[in-house]
């Protein structure tokens, strides 16, 4: 028959339709991306003003604060002239912003090195730690959350949800100290502190230094994911399309995986983005417990050393990172969930 002609087969029709729809979405998506980028700029600028003001809120001459106690009056006068500390605050801000945009975040008082390279030296540890932590969060958080939701109302659900809440109630440093005592001191299985770079001796095996820290950091965050997966799966399970899927006799496992879990994953995927960005700063405590040379410990040590240029630089880098990740999450969210309005 004419309709059975391969050119007009229903699947091809559907494909052509989908393609049209896709290009519509992409035009919308592009407009949405541009719009979001524009809203990001004022927020970034406001945040940068706060970061800039940070040094000025500390009592004392900002040039002397930025150079530390050992600076000579000549050095202070020179920096004052360079940064224009005698000029209006707005002028100073634009001078500072100009430097920042060129990658010049100042000089560390303690290391006597550019702040950017001090931060870069901690980046490897921080990024590896956050990545490894994400692996644990996904490995533990997702399956336990799914289990908790599918066994909703049973003792399995009660144990897993309460267990997750308990895990979220544990101070990370306390957990870390006991993990060190059990697995490093008593059993001697893992190193207790430090992290040599992957490019040092040992190569990829050096990741074992990050095993205990990443587990410590993962515990409360995986607990949050468990609760989020459970809550969003229960939300989706109440929707009409799930009832339809059940009514047409689909296997319960298939309903759970294809209709409930996949939809619930949209909210969870967004949470993963936020968690990853938050991990860089949340790692402050964990990095201190395990003496890891990451950005988090750098913040604490710089605060204790009164190394203000480094504190300022790290805050700026983390805040920009956090905002960019937020933007990417929003864009991914709009892409994953066609119900999100792009207007």
């Amino acid at each position: 028959m004419y309709l059975n002609n391969s050119i007009l087969s229903p699947s091809l029709f559907r494909m052509a339709g989908a393609k049209c729809l896709l290009s519509f979405i992409e035009v919308d998506m592009l407009a949405y991306t541009v719009k979001r980028l524009f809203t990001l700029i004022p927020t970034l600028l406001s945040a940068s003003i706060l970061v800039f003001l940070f040094v000025h809120l500390i009592p004392g001459d900002p040039a002397a604060i930025l150079l530390g106690d050992t600076a000579t009056p000549e050095e202070v006068a020179q920096l004052s002239a360079e940064m224009g500390f005698d000029r209006p605050l707005a002028t100073q801000y634009f001078l500072w912003l100009g430097n920042v945009l060129q990658g010049d975040l100042g000089i560390s008082i303690f290391f006597r090195e550019p702040v950017l390279s001090v931060i870069a030296s901690g980046a490897e540890t921080s990024i590896l730690l956050a990545s490894m932590t994400m692996v644990w969060i996904i490995l533990f958080g997702l399956p336990i959350g799914v289990l908790s939701a599918t066994k909703h109302g049973t003792w399995v659900d009660q144990v897993t949800s309460s267990g997750a809440m308990l895990a979220a109630s544990v101070p990370t440093f306390w957990l870390g100290l006991y993990l060190i005592m059990i697995f490093s001191v008593t059993l001697g299985w893992f190193p207790s502190s430090g992290f040599p770079s992957l490019s040092d001796d040992g190569g990829i095996a050096n990741l074992r230094y990050l095993l205990l820290p990443s587990l410590t950091l993962a515990a409360p965050n995986a607990a949050l994911i468990v609760r989020l997966v459970r809550a969003s799966m229960l939300d989706v399970a109440r929707e009409d399309h799930v009832r339809t899927a059940r009514a047409k006799g689909l296997h319960p496992v298939r309903v759970t995986i294809k209709h409930v879990f996949r939809n619930a994953l949209i909210a969870v995927a967004a949470a993963f983005g936020f968690t990853f960005a938050a991990l860089i700063s949340e790692a402050v405590v964990t990095e201190t417990v395990f003496s890891l040379p990451g950005i988090g410990r750098l913040v604490v040590q710089s605060i204790l050393r009164r190394d203000y240029p480094v504190i300022q630089g790290v805050i700026l880098v983390i805040v920009v990172l956090y905002m960019v990740v937020n933007l990417l999450v929003d864009l991914a969210y709009a892409r994953l969930d066609p119900r999100v309005s792009l207007k």
């Binding site: 004022p42 927020t43 406001s46 945040a47 706060l50 940070f54 809120l57 500390i58 309460s162 997750a164 809440m165 308990l166 979220a168 109630s169 544990v170 101070p171 990370t172 440093f173 306390w174 100290l177 006991y178 060190i180 005592m181 001191v185 607990a223 949050l224 609760r227 960005a277 938050a278 860089i280 700063s281 949340e282 402050v284 405590v285 201190t288 913040v299 604490v300 605060i303 204790l304 504190i311 805050i315 983390i318 805040v319 956090y322 905002m323 937020n326």
Partner: protein, 283 residues
């Protein structure tokens, strides 16, 4: 809503949450009558009897100064209550006011909520660290810093809730009957926000404990001489292999208290107005 009935409904059939509530009541009682029930002075140093094992008369043993850990733990309950209640007051007052006013006065809200957005770009612990850098270590400043950190989320949440309430018929009725702005905000809208505020308060109380303990541990929280559970952990951590009990008791106290507060918060959340269920943060 009657407060007693609200609590009874929230905890009905929830044994774990009820146990948590009882535990928190015990903490509050211990905090109030600490001088009466603590067997020793929490600051008294005894160089001879340092690092004693748990037993009699030192139930939880002694620390590296020979101070009685049990008495310090009881006085630590005071700090737990002060930090929790103080941060909740700061967060709910500042955040609540900003959120409510922003939702009610749209033009002001546009401006204020952008500011909140900017502050929320700073991760919680990082913001606490930055503020602490500018201030001295003291109980008041710790409370202030933690309160400010949670004021941002509270403002966001209350903004949403007030917006929802603003569209309700009873607000229109109040406007028609000639009620002024402050009367509408505080006599008509605020009473409807009390139960969600209570839920929010319980989660802030729990988070504040963990934040305060983390700050203590980093040496940036309460002054070192103040007996708090976080300071006890921070000071005794180098003795973890010689005297593991020194870290066990304060740590367990923090875990049980935060867990209890989370359970209570969960129970309260499940019983509040369904309109606000999606708005409340929490574990």
């Amino acid at each position: 809503m009657n407060a007693f009935n609200f609590l009874r409904n929230a905890f009905a059939g929830r044994k774990l949450a009820t146990a948590g509530f009882v535990w928190l009541c015990l903490i509050v009682v211990a905090a109030i009558v600490a001088p009466l029930i603590a067997p020793f002075d929490p600051l008294e140093i005894d160089p001879v009897g340092r690092l004693a094992e748990p037993g009699w008369p030192n139930l939880f043993g002694t620390d590296h100064f020979g101070r009685d850990t049990f008495s310090r733990a009881i006085y630590g309950a005071r700090m737990t209550v002060i930090i929790g209640v103080g941060s909740v007051i700061v967060a709910l007052f500042c955040g609540g006011l900003i959120g409510m006013l922003s939702a009610y006065f749209t033009r002001l809200g546009h401006f204020l909520m952008r500011g909140i957005d900017v502050l929320m770009a700073f991760p919680a612990l990082l913001m606490a660290l930055v503020l602490i850098t500018l201030l001295e270590r003291s109980v008041f400043n710790t409370v202030l810093v933690i309160g400010i950190v949670y004021a941002t989320t509270t403002a966001r949440i209350l903004f949403g809730m007030t917006l929802k309430l603003k569209g309700e018929v009873f607000v229109d009725a109040a406007v028609c009957s000639g009620a002024g702005h402050s009367s509408i905000l505080f006599r008509h809208i605020l009473p409807n926000l009390l139960s969600p505020l209570l839920v929010q308060a319980s989660f802030i109380f729990a988070f504040a404990q963990l934040q305060a303990a983390a700050l203590d541990f980093l040496g940036l929280g309460l002054p070192p001489e103040v007996p708090s559970w976080g300071n006890m952990l921070s000071e005794e951590r180098i003795y973890i292999t010689r005297a593991p009990w020194l870290l066990l008791y304060p740590g367990m106290l923090i875990v049980v208290s935060v867990f209890s507060m989370n359970l209570v918060g969960d129970a309260l959340r499940d019983s509040i107005d369904p309109r606000f269920k999606d708005d409340i943060a929490g574990v």
